[in-house]
């Protein structure tokens, strides 16, 4: 499974902080994003940052491993 995390404004639009997506061999970050955009279009309007296993990722063609932790995030506003 892929553990998907949401925070702050994105979590509000999703209606939760986490969900699990089924892992498929050869799955890329783009595949997971496309799947979630279809389910939560409003939330993904404000997604501009992504992280895989706690590291910033910009490359949507990144292959995902089973048990990965993926976060789709709005622009940060700390500080």
């Amino acid at each position: 499974m892929i553990n998907v995390l949401f925070f702050g404004p994105v979590a509000d639009r999703i209606g939760g902080n986490r969900l699990q997506a089924e892992f498929r061999a050869g799955m890329r970050l783009q595949d997971l994003r496309d799947e979630l955009v279809r389910q939560y279009p409003q939330a993904f309007e404000i997604v501009s940052m992504m992280a895989v296993n706690g590291e910033h990722v910009r490359n949507l063609s990144l292959p995902l491993a089973d048990d990965s932790e993926v976060a789709f995030m709005a622009k940060f506003s700390g500080g």
Partner: protein, 141 residues
Amino acid sequence: MKEAVRIQQEDFSQDEEVAALKGSSKRMGGIGTFLGCARDFSEGREVEQISFEAYGSMALSEMRKLRADAIEKFALLDARIVHRIGTVQGGDNIVFIAAGAEHRVAALEACRWIIDELKQRVPIWKKEVTPQGDAWVVPHP
């Protein structure tokens, strides 16, 4: 001694952080600090409270990298970064950065660089609680 990089609910003491920084080297000739506070007015509205949410493990790891990057980039002798999460009131402390170097220019420039980078790199979000309702903050460029 407290860790040099922390995310915590409770307030911090600037004196303690500066003392810890100074304690790391007697070669330090300049210390630059930045204190970020909660404003009680924003975008034309009164703000009652600000609540912060973080992707905790990633935020801490990014702040540690940020400290290491700053130490290398500005040849700092040491640096400390503390960010609060949870709910704060107007006037409360939010974030503290201290950078120590042999000379003032590196200390001051590093401090400015760290807070600017923190806003770009560290996954923390703030929500303003106002009499008109709650709103997540859209970052300024």
